[in-house]
């Protein structure tokens, strides 16, 4: 399959700061079209079939309409740029190379839902982006793409940059909103959803960087054009991040439906040094780990979940034959244990227990009952945690037990052997 750049179109060819350069490649034309017929924006987005690119894959048009249909004196657009998933760097690249496309997407969304204030919640661990975004925002404001009376339309919409405080959980939209309000970043119970009661209780559209960056092209070229790309249920492209034991790690934009094998072999160039591929973690740190036998799975939300893989934010981490899967799992669960906000019982107390159990397998002291307890706990967390962090944290373990049972050796004699 051929690379196709929608989100990253012209990225790297033009200055990320200067709006004039973005305009020279057709930038802000989508916004101009949107302000002429604001009522059509949501219709277009719905028809395009665009789904959120942050990991959950929720239909973007529907999300827009929730915010649009909630009457309020104030509404907000929030760009979720808290890209904290280990092995995910796609939003970073979009922000580094073509930030105006994000601003344009936010402004289109603002026009559609009736918001006049936007925030970009930027991951604190991307400090170099602060300067780029601030300068680009200043330039956009100077040229009236944001600020009062954008593109002479009568609409007001400004964007403020907000730097996060270093918590992975703030990538969860409601925790992000709490953090933005100056509180401890913890997910809220939903409902109410942010679209109805979000930032400071006002209707708020929260979307991922990549999702927002898709809007200008859809408005400009129309939903039919967009639907030609990708798969039926998941139209469009995806910006994938390839990492781990692979020759050409990096960020690549391909139509949705590209297979993992294509990305591994053709794009990534296989494992370095001729090593054999042992496993692939799909979708991100909280995604499923699958064996090479599933490499022909297309990267598409439905196909992934049918086959036991995870689409997530489009990450693929390749693990070669020299790696110990238990080390990988230990490292991942350490991450979730560290990043759990501590609000809900299963995530706060469950992750450390998963970690303790994985370590038992590592040091050979695990019994059959430990394996059973680990699966039981993992399933309780998947079904019972308050937010996606806790719900997804056991995925790597649960999928590894399914696809790599040989790794989980139990020693039922251990108890007798121990004093």
């Amino acid at each position: 399959m051929e690379e196709l750049r929608v989100v990253l179109s012209k990225a790297g060819d033009i200055s990320p700061i200067k709006s004039s350069e973005y305009v020279s490649v057709g930038g802000y034309e989508g916004l101009r079209k949107a302000v002429e017929a604001p009522e059509k924006v949501i219709e277009f987005i719905k028809a395009s079939g665009l789904r959120g690119r942050g990991g959950a894959g929720f239909p973007t048009g529907l999300k827009l309409s929730f915010t649009a249909n909630t009457p309020a004196d104030q509404k907000y657009i929030v760009c979720n740029a808290d890209e904290g998933e280990p092995g995910t760097n796609k939003d970073r690249v979009i922000m580094e190379e073509i930030p105006h496309r994000i601003f344009e997407g936010m402004a289109i969304a603002a026009v559609a839902v009736g918001a006049d204030q936007g925030y970009i919640y930027l991951r604190a661990e991307y400090p170099h982006l602060k300067k780029i975004l601030e300068e680009a925002l200043a330039d956009a404001r100077e040229h009236s793409f944001i600020g009062p009376n954008i593109v002479n339309s009568g609409f007001n919409f400004d964007i403020q940059l907000f730097i996060g405080a270093g918590a992975y959980v703030c990538g969860e939209e409601t925790a992000l909103l709490d953090s933005l309000e100056g509180k401890r970043g913890e997910p809220r119970f939903k409902p109410p959803f942010p679209g109805v009661a979000g930032l400071w209780g006002k209707p708020t559209l929260v979307n991922n960087v990549e999702t927002l960056a898709n809007l200008p092209a859809i408005i400009l070229n129309g939903p039919e054009w967009f639907r030609q790309i990708g798969t039926e249920k998941c139209p469009g492209t995806k910006v994938f991040t390839l990492s781990g034991n692979i020759l050409n790690p990096g960020v690549y934009e391909y139509p949705i439906g590209v297979t993992i094998r294509e990305l591994f072999e053709d794009v990534g160039g296989c494992c370095p040094n001729g090593k054999k591929l042992y496993a692939v973690q799909t979708g991100g740190a909280s995604g499923n780990i699958i064996p090479p036998s599933l490499l022909d799975t297309p990267m598409d939300i439905e196909r992934c979940s049918e086959n036991g893989a995870t689409f997530g934010a489009g990450d693929l981490m390749f693990i070669d034959e020299d790696r110990c899967l238990l080390d990988v799992l230990e490292n991942l669960i350490e991450f979730f244990e560290h990043e759990s906000c501590g609000k809900c019982t299963p995530c706060r107390t469950g992750n450390p227990q998963l970690l303790a159990l994985i370590r038992k397998f590592k040091n050979g002291t695990a019994k059959q009952s430990d394996l059973e307890l680990m699966l039981e706990l993992g399933n309780v967390m998947v079904g019972g945690c308050l937010c996606g962090l806790g719900q997804a944290a056991p995925n790597p373990i649960l999928s590894a037990v399914r696809f790599f049972p040989e790794v989980f050796k139990v020693n039922n004699n251990y108890e007798r052997g121990a004093s």
């Binding site: 119970f189 906000c341 501590g342 107390t349 450390p352 307890l373 019972g384």
Partner: protein, 348 residues
Amino acid sequence: MYKVVIDGQPSEVTNGTTILAACEQLGIEIPTLCYLKHLTPEGSCRICVVEVKGARHLQIACATPCTDGMEITTMNERIYAFRHMIIELLLANHHADCFNCSANGSCKLYQYAMDYDVEQTRFEEVTKFRPKDESSEFFNYDPSKCILCRRCVRTCNQLQSNHTLSLKNRGVATWVGLPFDKLFKDSNCVSCGNCVSVCPTGALTTKASKKYRSWEVTKTRTTCPYCGVGCQMDLLVKNGKIVGVEPADGPANSNLLCVKGKFAYRFINHPDRLKTPLVRKNGVLTSTSWDEALDYVAEGIKRIKAESGPDAIAGFASARATNEDNYVFMKMMRAAIGTNNVDHCARL
């Protein structure tokens, strides 16, 4: 109105009713730890899960609103196993020192462990406990008993709005503490004790509660005797003595009290209470019988009234006594003595 079916029983609820409230209407009990009336439900403890037909995962009852046609199951094997697991997880981070615990008998974790047959947790203890804070004059804080239901934090911040307690750290290292790790006595704590009243375990306990067990006390609903707010509360009585006070959900106080209502009850049992009438004899107040004292009063009043008229007698009633006491006092002054010289400290 929405139609819902709970455990096969059809019911009607108003729009916005939570599953928990709908269950309460039918008298179905759901275990809760973080839920508290008057606080926004935050759904953090996860013990109140129920099964909703059509939903992939179990749903928490305390925060999930009913929808029309919702079919809810409040107990089955899946729910039981889930709650069992939550209790096991909590117990793994709880210093189960039940024998010595002030909350013995009133601990919700203990109760649910019993209800769900959790004799022992299968998990290892993973939390490092923080030291106790017994610096308050009125209550003790033992973080090793805390299950992080956050009722205290939310009560302190949302209801009392004093912002003394907050959550510190995150993940399994989360704990309830004070700004700059201060002790209660050095903080802005106003000793209202509302955090203590809402604690479901023995993490926050009154200093007095070491001396009684919940099954030993009887409760009497009454009105706080201090200021004019009229807070409703329960007096806890053991062996004829007040040993504690718990807030009640009165129209004026909605389960809140202040330091005086919650803790200033010791005067009731104080040895200095007057126990017999006293009459001054040779300049000294001396114990006497009611008959003698009452005769002394009545004779004195009669004599002065006869000599100087009823207006030579005055009476101060009490803003501390009941309506009935004050009425009889006022009636005594006006009807039995015959003067309007009756006042009380309304102005003071």
